[in-house]
Point group: D4
Chain length 250, copies 8
């Protein structure tokens, strides 16, 4: 309301034309100006509003489009993060953002800028080797967003000693991302060991009939451990964004 | 934006204090003032915004609460419409809105005021006798909202001649609400006969294993006839609201 | 019944042979003569009965068949509309209907003729860039059917200001088609802003695990806003046909 | 039991050794000897037990295996019927069964022998052009099994007059197979017109989101018409086998 | 068309007024006159059209309504059959149809008249004792419809010898109704033993987690035996109607 | 086959009439004579065939019926086991089987006789206090079937130390029954600790939205630990029967 | 490991017997001693391990059991929190914990002790009046766990202005719990407005056919806004535990 | 605890440094040292803990990785078992493990070493020819794990005599693995014939619409025969591991 008040003051003082003032007030309410690239509205103010600039979801987008949006973001001085992407898109992006990097397993293209650092460590724990791509999507996303990340992979509950052997790393984290497919029990076991928040990511790993991750999703939602919340199947990025938001709280 | 402009003009002309103007502008954007009944925010401006005042969904609400919200609505001179309600609630409402009426089969309490009349007739067609309660919810809602309603019940497709015998009533309607459970084929057959919009309402009638109406819902969504859109299972009220909105278009 | 009466009068007056009269009466009841192309019955009278001639659903049909049906429709002077089609089919159609046009993103082949104009504007609102193909299927279908269309894309609810900034275009429409995948909330938010009918189209956009559009479908069916009805997943054509039927009501 | 009695009589009379008799009795109970082709047990006695020899389900079987089983069946003088097959398999079969025929759309290879004729006509009704492959699977299967078949295609309920125009063919059938996808309403409408049994076949036609035929399946199971039973999605063969069994009843 | 021809001949010959003829022709097309009881359209011509008069589905209907419809049916000299009913309804019916009988386990009220006899025996086979109510619904329905019924209960496949011990009764039937819950395997095993049609009825027996009969339903639809078609869960009536239609074929 | 041989030998030796021999041979094949109690076929030979006499599933059976079947079983000298039963049934049973015992939490009535003892200990592990009724059904069933049972309750994975503290009891068992609702992770964790077979029982415990045990069922089926097989939701009896069969193997 | 080291040091120094040391080391690893109340293992060390003592899930537990567990917890000086409970349980608890309080709508019994305070405010936002019980479960749980809570109820997205009018309260929170049934869009809209973590709670509110909260659950999982994680349906307690864990991070 | 005691004794006797002792005690508790191949933790002690060394699940793993893990396992002298693999992987493995064998149909690579022999025969029964690949996965796994295996294929219940003819092989087994798709009835029928444990494997055979094996899975879980437990769809390996564990019990 302060901004509105300022506009009215300016009008009263004759510094501003009422019509222009109305236009600005309306615009203010409507939201921030958006850069219109014809095929997408790039929302540069998201950095202010949500703590990180717009992320490009690469799947289904043309390499050329990804490259053009990437350039627009980088030109503003923002960090670049493209998820669910591939080598073709990277070839296009690399032409306009030469120092961008491609992480094949994580399917991420990124170029980091200085961003505020998170306060603690985000632990990314993965149950099996098949969960690593989603885990890497989470880990790299978290790194790009300014967090220290500790990776703890292949610690599924069928061999409990593997997890318990790393107990100290588990309890040292400020936030934990637990990535698991199949029966998704890793989230419950970790949830029972710590007092910090655990963000669970079910994966669609195709061991037997896991219904594309639905079993792990349901299991994680029904976790008997407190402190576990869940994101969508294979959504490593989403988990990292939440973990980063938590890790950046003062 | 015109309203905003008027505020700025008033400030420029000294007719309005900037602070008060900012408050009004902010309030305008925020939405209309809401009457706060502690347990519910009654939204009296909905009549302006959506063409009909707030409707009370009765299920799960205490009779006393329903009565108090009813009174608040009637006191403003608005039409009263309580859906999914019962005789207990009506007993409470009748004390504070003496001329309210209760429709047992439709589970509706209503008290009508003058509202703009719809342009044509809304036909409510029901496949079987078990679909009548939902059909009546639709029919009475449509009437309260200012529409002429034609009821055509027990015209399911297993006895096609029953529907074809009333062909002229079908084609005379401006909008049609087709209510059916089981395999929900009535919507497709009617959709094939007319050019006006058909709003389909699947019902949870418990003939055999119809999965609480899901079969009819899916069948209606997959209708091979064009012109058929669908509302939620048993949502006679919603279908009537849509049909009324269509029927009130100039 | 008037037509039947005329036949009987003609027989009584000796103007018509009883056998021929019986044949005509029977035929009349049976429906309009259908052009039989061996692999499909083209229903030319649909224009009269449903307000628009038969539309060709292209998926799974051979290019040659599509071309032959297209020609039959165009030869009658009707508008041509082929949905869910591709460049191969267009190559075949273009040989027999030279001035047909192909819309790649919308997967539509069309050739317009004069049709009655709808009364107002149909707004097609899309939540994300991935919803644009389905939105274009809706928009072009609506245009071919004689409607003015306003496209409002990339206005998903996660960045609410993008939608609110275009509030005036939203309230100016006579019918609104809301296209969204994922959680499908756009329909509810728009439904809460307007009093005109909103036809919601869930899309099968593959962001995370949206179960092929089922989530958006269920969310739209459960919309807390009144005035929202729903068509099948990705059914842009169906939404446009309904919107056009509404927009053509007197 | 007569066969067992005969064995005991033979033993009493000294015509048969008890051990051999026990072996034969055991074998008799165990079932008929089966021709063992290593990768499949061909059951030649099925013709006696079930009225038609073993049918080869082609999907997932190697062309060479199909050819060898085909030859074994033909060598016994039985009719050959291979379903869900393709041109590759036919190439192999044709080498060993030169007068076999291939129906591409129905995906059937067959070679007919004299079989008992059914008593009436089996009508195969299909809702849309996309339902024709499954319908042809049913129709050709029924023909190979000795039935007269009447095909009535493209008579979906959205254009009811198309079905009503052929009312006499519908009521003339002794059994009806109703094939439909989407909302599957054809079975209900036909079921309401006749007193003979209707076997409904849901199809997985991919118009919109029909969940691979589940919607049609559920709709047919919930048919409000009596006399409708249902087989599995796309199971044209199964419907024909049932219809043929009915049509061969004395 | 013959009836139409007769009308035209009568008009030509001056025996019939054109208006009256048109009315009759229209009515003929529209279908048979229906007795309107306000809350239900009783369809007395169904006996002609479908081989058996209208059956009353009792669930959800008031006892008084059931009694009035029952009387209307009996007054016409038709057989009475009320399914899914109870003792309360029977008390009402008994007052107006004194010789009606109530079958508690089958939940049926019936009063038989002379109807055409079916040609063979309908075998009703039930897997477990919990399947008996649905089996009785089927058996009594079949009897009322004029069929000889053989009941073979408690012959589930977990004790295969119980079924095999009655092999001769199984193969003696002209049609078989197989009633089973849980894994529904009875239909497959019987289907493999006979050449006559088998109508399978899944039941919602609550042994463990059978998902209200869905497991048995799916299993029966996926039966590896040919000749098995399926009706809805617990739909003993529907199965009997189909079996009777088959058994009444010449 | 030995029994058949003996019959033939007897016939050859003139000790047996061929007709009587045939009858006996047929009967032998058909299965054992079953005691027919009108409402159920009691299968006394099951003890020989399956290692334990027929168990009475109490749910849905009348107390009087349960009592009569119980008496028939006890009169033969067999162990009595009635599952899913209640105090009413027990009152009836106690009149005819005075020394029967009722376990309220397990919902079991039983009377033990000497049965062969299993070789080792069956451990019944339960995740939470809500899983105890199903666990007790398993434990008591196993005891009645002749097994030593060790109960280890409230050892869910959210507090892993509770399970690990009892590690020695876990590894000492010959078979383990793991009972858990919610995310069902107990089976995986135990499966990873031992080399003996684990039979997992999902429970329908209503903590949050566990979909009646489906989540636990799916999780257990997708267990990342080898050695885990699964029975139906809440099927403590079934798990015990399997565990007992394993424990009785030589 | 420090504790283990201390034991070894004590043994080396002769201060501790090796056997006793081994026992203590084993016990330490096995977990903390648990108070065994026969029907439940109370886990008093959870306060240390997870930041809050064991919470009693009341549903399905006997009042007397709840009272005894409550007393054991209070006797240790811990905060008491019983969820999903009722007046009967409270009557029992009140006898042994006289100063316990019962919140009927939230179904919670609690008695607070000094616990560490969270750093910011937890906002609990609810879409409709029907979501209030779950919201109150969340709000009171959060308060008992030491957090300041701001309640913002009845701000569903169909009347967007109601939420926007409270924008400042939304952005002032450190963590947000968004509670909604039906289409669950509130979480997405709030997620788009803030940069702090949002924990979404789907509710099983029975407006129309929301499938017991599954629609809201799926919608929230598919939220197009980043920063939204989800807990189980109606799990207000779980959401509060997570929000509190976040709010207690340094 | 004995190992811990030994450490303490060693410290007391001065043979071991307390710090080193603490390290070893900690390590012991944490679990066995794991060979870290960067992309997977090979768990060589599993042979001791679970009776068989780690099995490599081949799907989704790179041939090179499979080869390197294979070598590590073989170098330790363990049996090698790679499941869900293919010819490419075998080419890589064969280079480093020259005497490994590839079973194409079973998709298994294996190299056997001496392992303890199971006590009896494991029967692998398959319903149809399409179930053979999964059956072979089970059979070869069981053989590699040291069991005698009897294969009984193509004995589905639709031709019951095929199974009954092999009755003696069925009852001779110590454990039975029943593999079936479609309606999965084989498990129930076999379960009714024997007293030994039956492990049921549903298959995703694509005959008709079996929903990827879900129908067979549900049917097997609902088996009316006792003694049947179930593993995941197509999980031949898992069934064999369980059967082997049972067969190796003393």
């Amino acid at each position: 309301m302060d901004a509105l008040r300022a506009l009215f003051d300016a009008v009263r003082d004759g510094r501003l034309d009422p019509e222009e003032a109305a236009r600005r007030a309306f615009e203010r309410v409507q939201g921030d100006p958006l850069e219109n690239l014809e095929f997408a509205r790039v929302d540069h103010h998201r950095a202010a509003r949500q703590g990180f600039p717009e992320v490009i979801y690469g799947q289904g987008k043309l390499p050329d489009h990804i490259a053009r949006i990437s350039k627009a973001i980088v030109d503003r001085g923002h960090s670049l993060l493209v998820t669910r992407t591939n080598a073709d898109a990277f070839a296009s992006v690399a032409k306009v953002v030469p120092d961008a990097r491609f992480h094949e397993q994580a399917r991420i293209i990124e170029r980091r800028t200085e961003v505020p650092r998170g306060r603690g460590v985000i632990l990314v724990a993965a149950a099996g080797t098949s969960d690593i791509p989603v885990s890497e999507e989470a880990a790299i996303t978290a790194e790009v967003m300014g967090n220290d990340v500790d990776r703890l992979y292949d610690v599924g509950v069928a061999g409990l000693h593997r997890l318990l052997a790393e107990h100290r790393r588990v309890v040292a984290a400020r936030v934990i991302i637990a990535v698991a497919g199949m029966e998704g029990a890793l989230a419950s076991v970790i949830g029972g060991l710590v007092r910090v928040p655990v963000v669970a990511v079910p994966t669609s790993v195709r061991y037997g009939a896991s219904f594309g991750g639905v079993t792990a999703l349901l299991a994680m939602l029904n976790s008997c451990a407190t402190g576990v919340s869940v994101v969508n199947i294979d959504n490593g990025f989403g988990a990292a964004a939440i973990a980063s938001a938590i890790n950046h709280l003062d």
